[in-house]
């Protein structure tokens, strides 16, 4: 029981000390970017083929322009559903010219 308690404390301390900074494999970002782009391209009911996708430490940033708030939300949902994505920062602008 004591061992278990110590273990929890140590783990917590390490986690707090190091944060989440060093645990994400950069290789994952490459895979995530490809996966998210493929999902956006595969979406037939919206025009998301040109959405910019950048992944850093599992945080996916979407940029560019889409035609409607619905498409903006759809892009975010698709990106968030890709395996390994921790968070989506939706920087898409809604423009009517598209």
């Amino acid at each position: 029981m004591i061992d278990r308690g110590r273990r929890v404390i140590v783990v917590t301390c390490i986690a707090l000390a190091l944060g989440a900074c060093a645990t994400f494999d950069p290789l994952e970002d490459t895979r995530i970017e490809a996966e998210v782009k493929a999902r956006l391209v595969a979406e037939k009911s919206a025009n998301l083929t040109r959405v910019g996708v950048v992944s850093r430490d599992g945080t996916v940033r979407l940029n560019g322009a889409v035609a409607s708030p619905e498409q903006r939300a759809r892009a975010e949902t698709l990106a968030g559903g890709a395996p390994g994505v921790r968070r989506v920062v939706n920087g898409l602008e809604v423009t009517t010219s598209r």
Binding site: T30, A34, A42, A46, N47, T49
Partner: protein
């Protein structure tokens, strides 16, 4: 122009100064095509001069109107009556393309705006001949597959347009600003873009294509003196594999001189682009794509492409994936009809591979795990340099690009491995010419000692050179204590100590053979000898600057073989080590996503 109508002159002549139309409209409905075309032209202001009776022409004509969807079109010039002809100046500004969609022979949805400044001459409508000279451009061009943009260009401008229909269409320069393309293989392995390419069949209900009809476009010679593209891009996505592959090409610049459908010199291509955000791509050479059989003669170079971006293909085709690596390659490819001849010089730096599945294609096709192959191919700078040709006939049903590539890779890998391995041993092949084993010559020792024989010293020297040249190679060392070692050990045991144990006499004398055989070897003697030999090899490597981490030592092996030696075996390289932080967190039971799973 201006010829009088045939027949006797009428008794009455009527001259009309000008017929004027203000704010007119035309509604055009065409139900012969699907979907039905609905074109509404509005704001028509027109004036026709020179009319009257008898109608002689030419008629002076000017008109402006709002074409369907918006924009402005102006037409001015003369229209002949006999024969029906025209000599007009046509200008269009922001004419919407979308309403003409039903007339386009493609399922793609095309939007954008057209701009034109053309001098059009139709000598005779009956002859179906015309000339047009001037400038045409499209802006905000957007080609969609359903909702999805698959082709886009901010602007496409054709200048020095010179059309003599139906013989030729000549364009001095076609300039594309920010063109973009989606090149996609879908999850069924199909190419949606190809399905959108206009077919030769007509769209009109019940009409058949008239390809052989005189005056159709099939006989028209097309020449574009120069095509340029600035700030182009492409998204390449392959969803037929898992995980999906996707990479963006951007900052593309292209210049294509002499594109023509007529026989003659092929077009000259010069293109640069950035691939995957970091890699530079250069492509130059000649190509003939509009004039019969495909002919290409291209030199390409890509620099610093991140190999992990191609992991989808590595995983699917090789069973490995890359955690790091940069690929630079020079490619020379010639295609003449269906004959392909290509040669590539590839340099891969900092390559780190990890197994991604049980199916190691390199193992089954070449004989060694890919990790071992690459470790044997890396030079002292950590680079892998490959040069391999690919030749074949594209139309040959036996031509399989994947198999051809594997055959080339196999040849290159075996050639690359065989030479350095010959310094330290040999490559053993199986009956089907796969690598069966890398046999490393053992390091010989004087019996019962950790002293290298002269041959052993020479082999250490070669091994050091080999390890120095191939910094990714790791080896196991297994000390072997032989029967001759045992004899030598026993011979060094002082006779007195043996005698005490065997109750023999003759203190200090050499042990008789029978006694030698009965003499037990101290329990520690064999492992001690093995350790000392390992130490001797380790020291020799260390003095030569070889990292001790690259040597894995195993327990001593006692054999009846006659030679005293240390065996060596090339090890499959370890994958990249996980971060220390990950190791610590995992040790404490913190659940972490394992990216290698």
């Amino acid at each position: 122009m201006g010829a009088r109508l045939k027949g006797p002159a009428p008794a009455v002549r009527v001259d009309v100064g000008e017929i004027v139309v203000r704010d007119g409209a035309v509604a055009w409905r065409d139900a012969t095509i699907e979907p039905e075309a609905r074109l509404d032209i509005a704001g028509i202001d027109a004036g026709v001069g020179g009319t009257g009776w008898p109608l002689e022409g030419p008629l002076t004509t000017r008109a402006s109107f709002r074409p369907p969807g918006g924009g402005q079109v102006r037409v001015a010039g003369k229209v002949g009556i006999d024969p029906p002809s025209a000599d007009l100046r046509l200008t269009a500004n922001n004419a919407d393309l979308a309403p003409y969609q039903p007339y386009l022979p493609t399922a793609a949805r095309v939007t954008g705006a057209a701009h034109a400044d053309l001098a059009v001459v139709v000598p005779s409508f009956a002859d179906r001949r015309a000339t047009a000279r001037g400038t045409v451009s499209l802006s905000a061009l957007d080609v969609r597959d359903g909702q999805r943009t698959v082709v886009r260009a901010e602007r496409a401008t054709a200048t020095e347009v010179d059309v003599a229909w139906p013989e030729r269409v000549t364009v001095g320069r076609l300039a594309l600003a920010k063109p973009w393309l989606l090149l996609e293989r879908d999850d069924q392995g199909g190419m949606p873009l190809l399905a959108l390419v206009p077919s030769t069949s007509g769209t009109a209900k019940g009409t058949a294509p008239a390809a052989s009809e005189p005056g159709t476009a099939s006989a028209t010679a097309i020449t574009i003196a120069r095509v340029t593209a600035e700030d182009g891009g492409m998204r390449v996505v392959d969803r037929a594999i898992t995980p999906a592959f996707a990479v963006d090409v951007d900052a593309a610049r292209l210049r294509l001189d002499g594109l023509t459908s007529t026989a003659g010199k092929p077009a000259r291509l010069d293109m640069t682009a950035r691939v995957g955000g970091t890699a530079d791509l250069d492509l130059r050479g000649t190509l003939a794509v509009l004039q019969g059989p495909l002919r290409l003669d291209l030199d390409g170079e890509i620099r610093e492409f991140a190999v992990p971006r191609a992991n989808s293909y590595l995983v699917n085709n090789v069973g490995w994936k890359s955690r790091d690596g940069r690929l630079s390659a020079k490619l020379r490819a010639k295609v003449d009809g269906d004959a392909l001849s290509a040669k590539s010089d590839i340099r891969i730096s900092r390559l780190q591979l990890v197994k991604a599945g049980p199916d190691d294609q390199a193992q089954s096709r070449i004989g060694l795990p890919l990790g071992t192959i690459t470790s044997l191919m890396k030079d002292r700078g950590g680079d892998i340099k490959l040069s391999f040709p690919v030749d074949g006939r594209l139309s040959d049903p036996r031509f399989d690009f994947r198999e051809t590539m594997w055959a080339a890779i196999r040849t290159v890998a075996i050639n690359a491995i065989t030479l350095p391995v010959s310094w330290i041993g040999r490559v053993q092949f199986s009956a089907d010419l796969k690598i069966q084993k890398i046999q490393v010559d053992p390091i010989r020792f004087e019996p019962g000692t950790a002293d290298l024989t002269p041959e052993g010293r020479a082999r250490v020297t070669r091994l050091v050179a080999f390890m120095d040249e191939l910094p990714d190679v790791r080896m196991t060392l297994r000390p072997v204590v032989s029967a001759r070692d045992i004899v030598a050990i026993k011979q060094r045991i002082p006779a007195t100590s043996v005698a005490r144990e065997t109750r023999a006499s003759a203190e200090g004398a050499a042990l008789p053979r029978a006694m030698l055989e009965r003499t037990p070897v101290p329990a520690s003697a064999v492992p001690d000898l093995g350790d000392r030999r390992l130490e001797a090899v380790r020291t020799a490597f260390k003095q030569a600057g070889i990292d001790a981490d690259r040597l894995r030592e195993t327990a001593v092996d006692e054999r009846q073989s006659a030679e005293a030696h240390v065996e060596l075996e090339v090890l499959e390289p370890e994958g990249p080590r996980p971060s220390k932080v990950r190791e610590v967190l995992r040790r404490f039971g913190l659940p972490l996503k394992d990216v290698d799973d």
